[in-house]
Symmetry: D2
């Protein structure tokens, strides 16, 4: 299980005076889609991940996105999210589509973090228990 | 059919450094819930309402909200939305709950608008065709 | 010094397909205006308040707002914010105007909180040091 | 005049439960910074550009960003924005810094658009009057 697909309704308040989605909203959707992928694989929410795993977040190192076709309020878009794990980081790809056509694509590199003795975030190998769930 | 209930996931990005929802996000949820109520009653999205009805939006005149219990990322809250129609305006109530407990309540007064000959928004009686759908 | 006025630019991304501000953005502006009032009185940011005061936030109990005239991207609105202190809570009023005309009004009731021994937020009298700064 | 620098306050509501800025907010800041660059060069707001220029928006084709250091509520960050013009498109670079250190970098490719006879957006050469203002 290395991918997850979910449906998201584009809302009136996500759209700008051109009548189409204001693109920062796509990044909100992508961030939630990354969390949804982990929730689907692990069976627990990100909130529960903080409580039960060696985990203090997955800060974004870089992201890039291409915008191919606009979407509008009332559109129910699909977001297909896939992951490839490195040792302490992972790469995410999102493909956002409407009626079979790709509207936007995004990639992210994120780092798995834990807190060091001084309370600071530091990178840390993705726990084997997490990787095992993704291997399914 | 004068009410609608939907479920909304509170996301990481909806929450603030206190770890709970940043309250302006509730108003985004409430605005979308008003649209969802009409979509449920009319069978068309707000986008399609603009195309097919005498309708150019429902500007908010006033709103008020009470916040009783915080919600957090990972919470799947329910929003129950009801409407009472006046002649050119309508009153909306939202009750947002989690696991059977009310977390927030909101009321709104909105005006049904159309465009006058000069292109300006003006209030207009809620169309009979809309009212009929809500009477079900 | 019980009031503060600041200027806020309404941005493209704050506006919806009607070309006017999407009203939840007003609540973001009001929340930041409450923080700006305290920063103006105390001479420290909200971030610094957490570090140096008996303070763990000012959760909102209720709010209400009236919307009189729309604002648009490119508008530089003024927000005048005033406060009245109770013992453990305070009332805020915001008046948002453009070119001398009131566009929106908002009131808020918030509670001053600290953390109890168990780590939970509880209401607490507004510190005398804070009140003294507002008396100026 | 091919660059513009502005200061932006990071607000409480821009930050997530980790206490740092939620990165989609950076894209809101970058989008407004692109508009600010044009406003600085042309002497008119984006709203006025729609009224007075052959212009119906600058949709984003792609963007990428790197996040080097987090920022927090209360931080006053600087955003330096530069542009390079092509014929019908332009490339934007944003450098967001705090106290002399770069915290985030972003690049954008956007297309200058006008409406064709059928009302659809199409790419169009950046007007000479605009280019002349940037040559200053």
């Amino acid at each position: 299980m290395l991918s997850n697909t979910r449906t998201v309704r584009i809302e009136w308040g996500d759209c700008d005076p051109a009548g189409i989605i204001f693109y920062p909203r796509y990044f909100e959707i992508f961030d939630a889609s990354t969390a949804a992928l982990f929730e689907h694989a692990l069976g627990i929410t990100k909130f529960q991940m903080f409580k039960t795993l060696e985990f203090t977040g997955w800060p974004l190192v870089h992201t890039k996105a291409r915008f191919l076709k606009p979407t509008r309020f009332g559109d129910d878009v699909t977001v297909e999210t896939t992951v490839k794990f490195g040792r302490t980081s992972f790469d995410i790809e999102h493909r956002l589509g409407l009626k079979g056509e790709i509207c936007a694509e995004c990639s992210e590199k994120r780092v798995w973090t834990v807190r060091d003795a001084g309370g600071r975030l530091k990178s840390h190998p993705v726990p084997e228990a997490v990787l095992a769930k993704f291997r399914g």
